[in-house]
Each structure stands twice: as structure tokens, then as C-alpha cells.
């Protein structure tokens, strides 16, 4: 099993969600987050003074899926999230030792 974290542009959330579902992902957790990479924030203007705002609003999606479909899930999400501009985000793939469905006690891939 793999955990995949997607940091994406907030306006791309719907498209990425549809792409993940189509690729066989059954559930996800999302968080509104702030951060920066190469995009390095933006400028805001208050009474004529410019301020650098370093942290940009992004959405983080977390999913856990079977090893077999992981490459397809990553590629589907990338295709949905891309604009080609700096600031499109990142995808991280992490190994997962185990999982459990709380209601039934099922473990492993059966739990996801």
C-alpha cells in the first residue's frame, strides 16, 4: 500500500477529485494548507505600501491505495492538476505498513 499526498492549486480540487475517483481511489482526506515552493507567495498592497505574502493557499489531498494502481493514480492526478505555471504543487508517495477499518477491524488492502 502507498499513501499519496498531493499539494495542488485550490481551484483544481474538483478536477483532481474526479480524476482520482476515476482512477480507482475510494476515499480521500483534504486540508486547506498554506506554504511556498518556487512560487514564493505574492504581493499585497495596503495604503500604498507593498507587502510580500510568503505563504500561498493550497489544498492538500491525502489518499491511500493499492501498490498496483499507484502509478496510474499519480499520473491521473498530475494530468488534472497541471497548468504549466510555477506553483502547480507537488506529489509525494510514501509506503504504508498497515491500515484498519475501525467499524469491522479489517486490515491491509481490504481496509482501504
Amino acid at each position: 500500500m502507498k499513501k499519496i499526498e498531493f499539494i495542488i492549486r485550490p481551484f483544481k480540487l474538483d478536477e483532481v477529485k474526479e480524476a482520482l475517483t476515476a482512477a480507482g481511489v475510494h476515499g480521500m482526506t483534504i486540508t486547506e494548507v498554506k506554504g511556498f515552493g518556487r512560487q514564493r507567495g505574492h504581493k499585497e498592497i495596503y495604503r500604498g505600501a507593498e507587502y510580500q505574502v510568503d505563504f500561498v493557499a493550497k489544498v492538500k489531498i491525502e489518499v491511500v491505495c493499492e501498490d498496483a494502481i499507484t502509478p496510474a493514480v499519480v499520473e491521473a492526478a498530475r494530468a488534472a492538476a497541471i497548468t504549466g505555471q510555477v506553483g502547480d504543487g507537488k506529489i509525494f508517495v510514501l509506503p504504508v505498513d498497515d491500515a484498519m477499518r475501525i467499524r469491522t477491524g479489517e486490515t491491509g488492502e481490504a481496509a482501504i
Partner: protein
């Protein structure tokens, strides 16, 4: 006594009262979320503190029998003799109580204006001490000098609704305050960004609305001068909003909401001393000038390095000064004539009143701040400043998220 005049002044007093919570919202939106309640409180509590002081001693110091042109006598202590019946020699057509309560609202909002300068770092207790002493030692003499039979009014200085008494006076105190208390932590290094501009915009709208009472009500009668003051007030605010936005659009490439409301307030401040004395055409010119000049003025604080957090000096100080001088240029109402109406002396008188107001209010406020800083301490600790004033000073938080 005149029923229409009395009703008009009482309604105007209610409008001016509403400006103080309006100012609280205007300022409250501009600070960071952790200081929103402390900032609202510094305006709102003055409805309590200043009103009580006004009844006890403030009114009589400002409007008691003149003593040497500098202060009122104590003949109206605890509002003695300030009732429904006018005393002999009283020329107004409203009861003394109506005049007193209208003036009370001016006394409330003036020290509230100062709070923008030391926002986000002032302790509550020394703030209360300062505001009470400042009312008695600075505001009451100023109000007496201009409106209460003192030397400035006798000299012929024109201040229709408080360009000197309210705006320059509070701005001079604001400058003294931010110099004594010092800049906020991180000033110039980290961005202090407004946490809720919709709140600020609502506050500015309430200020604009209340200002009709402030300026038109200052005619103290429901007459032609009040109608003119109402109109000039509106047009100066409108022109100020447009002018500020136009200048910043050209300078920074965007029209901002904070710019629009700041320009409107700048226009309102500038027209205040002139409202009942100038034409609508002059009010448009003054509004345009105020929006552009005040935009430039607020940028200067970054150059000089003093942290006037919410730009009291840039908007109320510069706008008030501009308005007082422009009154000497554009005044043309009955016997009140300025430069363009063939009376250049008026501009000189206005200049004297401007300099005297700045010097007196700045020096008195500077000493007051210094004394309170040395005895009580004005400022929160660095750790408390980082945590925010709301939790430290009031044991509350503005938002639960």
C-alpha cells in the same frame, strides 16, 4: 427655542454618537486578528469614560464662562444650569442640554481617533488614564479656544465642525503617542496586514453616515447652512474616495478597497472645518486634494520610521491641516470670507490656528505619554505583544476557529 432646530441637533448628536462604534470597526478591521477586541474596546469604552468625565467636568471646562480666553470656569460643574431653559444672553435656538450632548459626542470620538496610532501594543489601564487626562488637559482647552469663547475663535479662526479641535488635535496626540511608545514588534520587517477589511469598509460607511450629523449638525440649527454643510460633506467624501483610488491605481497598479474608504475618510476630514462655509465646487476640490495628499502622506511614515499603525497622522493630521488652510482660501458664506472672496487675512489666521493647535496638542500629549510611560508603563511585554492584546488585556478572543 425652536422645535425644528432642537430636533435636528438631537438627531445629529445621535449620528455623531454612532461614529464611535463606526470608528471602532474601521480600526478593528485593520489590525491583526489577535488584537481586534482590544482595538474595538479602545474606541467603545470611551463612550463610557469620556461621557462621564464630560458630565462631571469636561463640559464646564470647554463651555463654562470664559476665563482669560484659555479655559472655561467651573460654573457648569456636574452640568449645573445645563438644562432645558436657556440662560440669559444665550443666542442659540436650542436648549443648553441639546448643545451639551451634541458636544459630548465630539469629545468621545476625538480621543478614540488617537488610538489608531498606538494600536496593537498599548496596555488598557494606561490607555484609560491617558484618555481621561488628555480629555481634561488637551481637548477641553482646545474646544474652549475655538468654540467656547476662547482666543482662537476670538481671533477669527474658522473651524466649522472640528478640523482643529477634533482632527489636528487628535493627530498631534497620535504622533506624540507613536513616538513615545515606539514601533510594533517586527515593524518594517514583517507585514502587519489588516485581518478583516469588510469590517473596515462597514466602519467607514458608518463614519460617512455619522459625519452628516457631525458637520451639518454643527450649524446648530435646521437651516440653509446645515443643508450646505450636508452637501459639501457628501461631495468631499465622494471626491476623496475617487482621488485616492486614482492615485494608487497609477502608483501601484491596483485600486484597493482600503484605498477607497481611506480616501473617503480623508475627504470627510478635510471638509470638516469648512463644511458650512464653502460651496459644493470648493468641496469637490478639497476632496480631490485630500485623497491625493493623504495618500502621499501615509507613505511618508515608512520613510520617517515612526509606526503610526493606522495612519492617524497621515489622514487626520494632514487632512485636517489641509482642510483648515483650504477654509481660509475657499470660505464664502455671509461674513465668513477667505482668500478667494477677497479676504487674504483669513488664510493667515487659519495658519496661526494650525500652528498653535499642532504645537499645543503635540507638546501636551508628548508630556502626558512620557509621564504615564514612566509611572505605569504604556506598553505590553514583547511576549504579550506576540500573543496579542485580546487574551492579555481582556481575557477574550475575537474569533473561535
Amino acid at each position: 427655542m425652536d422645535a425644528a432646530d432642537t430636533g435636528f441637533v438631537l438627531m445629529s448628536a445621535a449620528l455623531v454618537m454612532f461614529m464611535t462604534p463606526g470608528l471602532a470597526l474601521f480600526y478593528g478591521g485593520m489590525v491583526r486578528a489577535k488584537n481586534v477586541l482590544a482595538t474595538l474596546m479602545q474606541s467603545f469604552i470611551l463612550l463610557g469614560l469620556v461621557s462621564v468625565l464630560w458630565a462631571v467636568v469636561g463640559y464646564t471646562l470647554a463651555f463654562g464662562t470664559d476665563v482669560g480666553g484659555v479655559i472655561g470656569a467651573l460654573n457648569h460643574l456636574l452640568l449645573a444650569g445645563v438644562g432645558g431653559d436657556a440662560p440669559e444672553g444665550w443666542t442659540l435656538t436650542i436648549p443648553p442640554a441639546a448643545f451639551m450632548i451634541f458636544q459630548c459626542m465630539f469629545a468621545v470620538i476625538t480621543p478614540a481617533l488617537i488610538t489608531g496610532a498606538f494600536a496593537e501594543r498599548m496596555r488598557f489601564a494606561p490607555f484609560l488614564v491617558f484618555s481621561g487626562l488628555w480629555l481634561v488637559l488637551v481637548y477641553c482647552p482646545m474646544a474652549h479656544w475655538v468654540w467656547g469663547g476662547g482666543w482662537m475663535g476670538a481671533m477669527g479662526a474658522l473651524d466649522f465642525a472640528g478640523g482643529a479641535v477634533v482632527h489636528m488635535c487628535s493627530a498631534a496626540a497620535a504622533l506624540a503617542g507613536c513616538l513615545v511608545i515606539g514601533p510594533r514588534r517586527g515593524f518594517g520587517k514583517e507585514a502587519h496586514i489588516p485581518h478583516n477589511l469588510p469590517m473596515t469598509i462597514l466602519g467607514a460607511g458608518i463614519l460617512w453616515f455619522g459625519w452628516f450629523g457631525f458637520n451639518a449638525g454643527s450649524a446648530l440649527a435646521a437651516n440653509a447652512q446645515a443643508a450646505m454643510a450636508f452637501a459639501t460633506t457628501h461631495f468631499a467624501a465622494a471626491a476623496g474616495a475617487l482621488s485616492w483610488v486614482a492615485v494608487e491605481w497609477r502608483h501601484r497598479g491596483r485600486a484597493t478597497t482600503l484605498g477607497a474608504v481611506s480616501g473617503a475618510v480623508a475627504g470627510l476630514v478635510a471638509i470638516t472645518p469648512a463644511a458650512g462655509y464653502v460651496s459644493v465646487g470648493a468641496s469637490l476640490v478639497m476632496g480631490i486634494a485630500a485623497g491625493a495628499v493623504c495618500y502621499w502622506a501615509v507613505l511618508q511614515k515608512n520613510r520617517f520610521g515612526y509606526d503610526d499603525a493606522l495612519d492617524v497622522v497621515g489622514i487626520h493630521g494632514v487632512g485636517g491641516t489641509l482642510g483648515a488652510l483650504a477654509t481660509g482660501v475657499f470660505a464664502d458664506f455671509g461674513e465668513f470670507r477667505g482668500l478667494l472672496a477677497g479676504n487674504p487675512t483669513q488664510l493667515w489666521i487659519q495658519l496661526v490656528s494650525v500652528v498653535a493647535t499642532w504645537v499645543f496638542c503635540f507638546l501636551m500629549s508628548y508630556v502626558l505619554f512620557k509621564v504615564i510611560d514612566a509611572t505605569l508603563g504604556l506598553r505590553v511585554s514583547p511576549e504579550d505583544e506576540t500573543r496579542g492584546l485580546d487574551v492579555n488585556e481582556h481575557r477574550e478572543t475575537g474569533y473561535q476557529w
